[in-house]
């Protein structure tokens, strides 16, 4: 078929409009498949032209913008010179060859087809290309170079930029190519300024498939632009590089900066300082990165197994500091004999005091009350009654005189004796035991138990007792010379009285109770009034009932201080408590109050306390006057102003039998320490706070009736119960139980354990679970 020529100039030689030119071209293409367009700057040449048998268009003369725009498959366009902007715009299949250069915007939004450029292109080439998977990828071949902003948002376009006679030999791809590129491939040959965004594209060497594609197709390109002789020059593989898009998945893993930070740190940052910039301020400071869950020295806290470093409430609040918690532990461990030995090292009178007369301060703060009820301390005390005394130590040759054989003096003697110091008790009465023996009714302190404990006491080596000794200044002076120490434990044996009319008709409680316990009690009337409604008053009331009274009234000027067993016993017998009652006078009819009321009584007994009788005291021992009576002043170790003389018990200040026992033990320990040349250490443990314990591991149950029951119920405050809970809860397996070797000759063996729990620093993450779990409050978390 013949070539049809379409001219861009009319007969008059004037340029025809792009609209008219396009109409003419379309008409020509309808009848001819071979067109020669002598264009004169018309735009959109070749737009949407197609013939089933193909269409060949040759463009001669200046072509306008958008040559080959919306080019269709099967259409071939050859432009024999250079072309203007946007060649191949929205091309969907035409093959366009430009023998010269193309200006800006070449192949913008091209989706299919091929554009061959025999020279170079301007800015924004190959932007916004598309690739429809139903069709081939669009291709742009450039013999020379590209302008700036090449291949922006390139999506499907394959470009080949050969770098022959480039516009800028130093940069054949222009400034910042490939911004927003998401697909396609750019083959290039020659220098670039490396300004492509590193998060959009990456440079590689062509792989086998790419190289094969390039070498196969470049022949056709060179033929199209009529320069086949360049083939050899353009098929040197090492001269080619490829720009490929980075996938969003790859990008998500990348740091957006153009240089990895580690490289910047090593090559620029650190080099400038020649090392760590803080090395002069803090030599050796390690600032390297660590995690948030750490072990070893990087922890902020660390667990500590503080076994037995605090006191259980029972130990702490007992005036003798009897370690009930350890006794119960020994029972749990099956070391029954040691358990008794342990208690007898603290008191000679466990059954009489702990088991009978003591209000058991030990269990007033028993932690078990958080679960159900306190440990039954009375039961525990009574259980020791039949047990033999501990072995006494070898005699030291020292000897101590003890004036007064009440509970304070007895415990001084007992402790000294067990430590091998001779203890000589000088007792005013015909028997030892003080008020326990003299005034406590047998109803409250069983005679059988008492006698057995006194017998055990008296049978103990190193204890000597002299009864019926009246102490005088002279006698005291003798003892002072003869003995290493004197301990005054005379108690209070002078009843306190009030001066109201008829006070001579009133009996003193002390005298009444002493007589009541003797074979010849004093007679009592049918009605009895007791002035002073404390616990001694209650004992008086009980004894009065026993001796025949029918009605006992206790009066007091304030709310009665009586409590516990004494009060309960008096109330059970029918005693009436009245307060506030001020006594105006006592007559044969009874007590007349200051309001004039008569409380009928044949016997009136006053029970407002007793005071010490200290006529034997030398001037070297100072006293303090409180409430009209003199009391011996002492320090923490019970030493008086005379360093050889100690004082214990009620003679210092009135207290419970247990206070007296405690004072006796402390004083004895002082003497023992001194005699061994050791430093005396008072009991100084802190009581464990309740919140340190985890009591919810225990469930409420009955109190039980045996020592074993109490041992099972004991929460083992501050004393490891070897339950393994810490080992179990530890999430990192850091805690283990390890045996420790202990000497079998150690006196304190009963107070220590043969094992310990250890936390491995390298495994522990300091979660504190051990401390939060430990039922006994042993594990603590310490900052470090």
């Amino acid at each position: 078929m013949a070539t049809t020529v379409v001219k861009g100039l009319n007969e008059k030689g004037e340029r025809i409009s792009s609209m008219e030119f396009e109409k003419l071209v379309r008409q020509a293409a309808a009848s001819s498949s071979d067109l020669l367009l002598e264009s004169y700057g018309q735009h959109n040449i070749g737009i949407r032209l197609q013939r089933e048998d193909g269409l060949n268009i040759t463009v001669k003369g200046p072509s306008g913008q958008r040559l080959g725009c919306m080019g269709m498959p099967g259409t071939t366009i050859v432009c024999e010179g250079s072309t203007s902007d946007d060649v191949g715009y929205l091309n969907i299949g035409a093959e366009i060859a430009i023998l010269g250069d193309a200006t800006n915007g070449a192949c913008n939004a091209m989706a299919n087809g091929k554009v061959f450029i025999g020279g170079s292109i301007g800015a924004r080439g190959l932007t916004m290309t598309k690739w429809n998977p139903e069709h081939e990828k669009p291709e742009l071949w450039v013999l020379g170079s590209t302008g700036d902003s090449f291949a922006e948002f390139n999506c499907g376009g394959i470009a080949v930029v050969c770098g022959i006679k480039p516009k800028n030999p130093d940069n054949i791809l222009g400034y910042r190519p490939c911004v927003g590129m998401v697909g396609g491939t750019i083959y290039f040959r020659g220098k670039t300024d490396n300004s492509y965004p590193k998060t959009n594209a990456k440079v590689t060497q062509p792989n086998e498939a790419q190289w094969q594609w390039l070498t196969e197709n470049i022949v056709g390109f060179l033929n199209k632009i009529r320069q086949p002789e360049l083939l050899e020059m353009l098929t040197r593989r090492d001269e080619w590089q490829v720009l490929m898009p980075i996938t969003p998945q790859e990008r998500a893993l990348m740091f957006a900066g153009p240089m990895p930070m580690a490289e910047f740190r090593n090559e620029h940052w650190n080099k400038e300082f020649g090392g760590d910039p803080l090395r002069d301020l803090a030599p050796g400071l390690d600032r390297s990165n660590i995690g948030v869950i750490v072990s070893g020295d990087l922890r902020r806290k660390k667990p500590y197994w503080a076994n037995c470093e605090s006191a259980a409430p029972c130990t702490y609040y007992c005036p003798v500091h009897i370690p009930t918690v350890d006794r119960l532990r020994l029972i749990r461990e099956g070391r029954i004999e040691e358990a008794y030995q342990l208690i007898l090292r603290y008191t000679p009178l466990p059954a009489s005091v702990c088991g009978a007369v003591c209000p058991n301060l030990c269990v007033e703060n028993c932690s078990r009350m958080g679960v159900d009820t306190a440990i039954d301390a009375q039961l525990l005390g009574q259980a020791v009654n039949i047990f033999e005394p501990p072995q006494v130590a070898e005699s030291t040759g020292k000897k101590v005189a003890i004036i007064g054989g009440g509970p304070a003096g007895m415990n001084v003697a007992w402790q000294l004796a067990l430590s091998g110091i001779e203890a000589h008790i000088f007792e005013q009465d015909d028997k030892i035991g003080g008020k326990l023996a003299q005034v406590i009714p047998w109803e409250r302190l069983s005679q059988a138990i008492w006698d057995r404990e006194i017998a055990r006491f008296l049978a103990t080596p190193n204890i000597k007792v002299s009864c019926n000794v009246t102490m005088t200044k002279e006698k005291f002076a003798e003892l002072h010379k003869e003995y290493d120490y004197i301990v005054i434990a005379v108690g209070t044996h002078t009843p306190r009285r009030l001066q109201f009319p008829g006070n001579e008709k009133v009996l003193a409680a002390l005298d009444f109770l002493k007589k009541a316990k003797s074979p010849k009690p004093l007679p009592v009337g049918r009605e009895v009034v007791v002035i002073g409604a404390g616990n001694v008053g209650c004992d008086v009331a009980c004894e009065a009932y026993r001796l025949g009274a029918e009605k006992v009234t206790l009066v007091d000027i304030q709310k009665p201080l009586a409590f516990g067993k004494e009060k309960a016993a008096a109330e059970a017998l029918g005693a009436q408590f009245r307060w506030p009652v001020l006594t105006k006078e006592v007559t044969d009819e009874g007590l007349i109050t200051n309001t004039g009321e008569l409380i009928a009584a044949q016997t009136v007994i006053i029970s407002i306390g007793d005071v010490p009788a200290l006529s034997f005291l030398p001037e070297s021992v100072e006293t303090v006057t409180v409430g009209g009576a003199a009391w011996i002043s002492t320090d923490k170790a019970h030493i008086t102003s005379d360093s050889k003389v100690l004082a214990v018990g009620d003679v210092e200040r009135p207290g419970l039998a247990t206070n007296a026992l405690g004072a006796g033990k402390t004083a004895a320990e002082f003497i023992i320490a001194k005699s061994k040349g050791q430093e005396w250490k008072p009991f100084d443990k802190q009581v464990i706070p309740q919140k340190a314990l985890t009591i919810t591991h225990y469930i409420p149950m009955d109190t039980g009736t045996s020592e074993q029951d109490q041992a099972d119920r004991c929460l083992s405050c501050a004393s490891c119960r070897d339950c393994h809970l810490c080992e179990t809860i530890c999430p990192t397996g850091a805690i283990s139980r390890q045996d420790i070797l202990t000497s079998t000759h150690d006196d304190n063996r009963s107070l220590t354990t043969s094992y310990e729990y250890v936390s491995d620093d390298e495994k522990c993450i300091a979660c504190g679970f051990c401390a939060d779990t430990c039922p006994c409050g042993i594990w603590t978390m310490n900052a470090f």
């Binding site: 957006a256 900066g257 620029h268 910039p277 803080l278 301020l281 600032r287 869950i293 979660c767």
Partner: protein, 546 residues
């Protein structure tokens, strides 16, 4: 004697529902791994063992009694010193999403007891005021649509730097150029400056991470970011490095670390970017630094030239200065001279109704290179809560007034005003900053935003975390304890700094491009902004847009 079973209450006894942050723990998901209690910075949570009573309540059975069940759970402390701060580190380390703090919806009872030992509440962070700020509500409403060529932020070349330093009037400049007189130094810097956070308020890893990021921005990205040291001095090796040129050295009433700075002057490779003379700050006007002993580690003590482990309250004002005139004379001149008049020196003040007077004074002083104004929403490492929440002046109207005042005198291009305080409070960093610039600031300082964006600071304005003052920062940003600050990798901070500034850089362009502007920051270009708030529009003299 108090029975063991009794529960004692005190005036400050609290229940978990009284608290600002309530720990929600799902026992069925808990693996008892211990991570949460190990990581908690306050010791606010513990493993609890609980006992449940199940009474036998079968009406047809004569048997009575109870069964007991024990179970575990993570429970929170209600003791004031151990209250949960909502940082959420527990959730971060929980392998099974079993634990998280949630904001208490009840009234915050704890606030009533934040005064133990008679000491009012102190904290870090910024004003606890939530919701959009005024800056957040400003929109850029002048868009060039086909009228003048719209610009493409991604492709066009922009110049977005700002001038720090005194710019002479053209007449004066010519005169000085001809006569060889002194022309005040200026710097072309990125308009978003990392504000003054001291080496001490920040951990070493945070401070150096920021500087490393700043160096990267300058040397790799070509974004000329500078940062201000705060008043804790500057490590000697840094003073002697080329990175000094990215640093604004601050001198404040505490004078910490200035001996090292002066000692380093003869050995400096370059000049610092500028000197900031701090007279006040936005978060706590009338208070100086409050670095507490927890944070005065051996390293900090060494750098600051103070004993270890002591409180370092700085006085609210410079002790030997009594008036604006004297301050300007003494400090600006001295510091300018110290660097041979080659370094811009400018004062930083708290935003205040009196800011204009300060500015007018500076206008007359050739040594004043600018004015930095810090508004009420500024952050701090430690301040009294009442200072932070209720003392100060919002930045927008303060800077606007100052700028308009300058404009009235025709001096608006001669002395730059920098603004700070709440820029990026809700994350809208570039928008806030550009709004501020269009209101008249030459640039903004950002501190708290950088901690949040570059290091993952967990603090917020619902009083989350905000324990910067205690040195227990769970991210290691404001702690001086290596066990905490080693959690923070300076490389990662630097990377984030780079990312933040790359992103701000793009956003500035995205804001400037529609204005058809690419070559100079739209400082004071208030015709391009509007706000849907009539009162604010009137006050700021900008358009009311609705």
């Amino acid at each position: 004697m108090v029975p063991v079973r009794s529960v004692s209450v005190t005036p400050s006894s609290l229940t978990p529902s009284d608290l600002l942050w309530i720990i929600e723990h799902r026992e069925e998901r808990c693996t008892l791994c211990g991570n949460c209690t190990a990581v908690c910075p306050k010791g606010a949570i513990r493993l609890a063992h609980m006992r449940k009573r199940l009474p036998k309540l079968d009406v047809f059975s004569k048997k009575r009694g109870n069964e007991y069940q024990t179970f575990t759970g993570i429970r929170q402390e209600t003791e004031q010193s151990k209250l949960c701060i909502g940082c959420g580190m527990c959730s971060m380390v929980c392998p099974n999403e079993a634990i998280t703090p949630v904001a208490g919806t009840n009234e915050n009872r704890t606030l009533f007891f934040e005064n133990r030992k008679g000491e009012p509440m102190k904290r870090g962070g910024r004003r606890n005021a939530t919701g959009p700020t005024l800056l957040d509500r400003i929109i850029f409403d002048r868009i060039s649509m086909l009228t003048d060529p719209a610009l493409d932020a991604g492709r066009h070349e922009f110049s977005v730097t700002t001038t720090l330093g005194r710019v002479l009037s053209p007449e004066e400049f010519l005169e000085k150029s001809v006569s060889g007189g002194w022309i005040p130094p200026t710097r072309e810097i990125f308009p978003f400056v990392i504000g003054s956070m001291s080496f001490g308020a920040l951990s070493p890893n945070m401070w150096l991470g920021l500087l490393q990021g700043v160096a990267y921005c300058n040397e790799v990205l070509g974004i000329p970011v500078v940062m201000c040291t705060g008043e804790g001095g500057c490590p000697p090796w840094v003073l002697r490095s080329r990175f000094l040129k990215y640093i604004i050295l601050q001198i404040a009433s505490g004078y910490f670390g200035w001996d090292e700075i002066i000692r380093a002057i003869p050995e400096m490779k370059c000049n610092p970017a500028a000197i900031e003379v701090k007279y006040g700050q936005g978060a706590k006007p009338g208070d100086g630094g409050l670095l507490m002993w927890h944070k005065v580690s051996k390293l900090i003590a060494r750098l600051r030239g103070v004993p270890e482990g002591v409180d370092l309250p700085s006085p609210p004002v410079h002790q030997t200065l009594y008036s604006i005139e004297e301050s300007v004379m003494k400090m600006l001149q001295t510091l300018s001279m110290a660097f041979e008049h080659k370094v811009p020196v400018y004062p930083k003040i708290s935003a205040s109704t009196s800011a204009k007077s300060v500015l007018n004074n500076l206008v007359r002083n050739p040594y004043a290179a600018g004015l930095m104004i810090d508004g009420i929403d500024g952050g701090t490492g430690a301040a009294y809560n009442v200072s932070m929440d209720a003392t100060g002046h919002p930045i927008a109207s303060c800077v606007r007034d100052c700028y308009l005042d300058l404009a009235k005198q025709g001096k608006q291009n001669e002395i730059p005003i920098f603004a700070a305080g709440g820029i990026g409070k809700n994350g809208n960093i570039a928008q806030n900053g550009m709004a501020m610039i269009m209101l008249g600031a030459s640039g903004v300082h950002i501190g708290k935003y950088m901690m949040q964006a570059a290091a993952g600071c967990l603090g917020n304005e619902k009083n989350r975390c905000n324990v910067c003052n205690l040195g227990i920062c769970p991210k290691g940003i404001t702690s001086q304890n290596p066990k905490l600050y080693r959690r923070l990798d300076p490389d990662k901070v630097a990377e984030r700094v780079a990312e933040v500034f790359m992103s701000i850089n793009t956003e500035i362009k995205k804001i400037m491009a529609p204005l058809g502007r690419s070559q100079s920051l739209p400082i004071g270009m208030s015709d391009a902004i509007g706000i849907a708030d009539k009162a604010a529009a009137e006050r700021l003299q900008i358009k009311y847009t609705c």
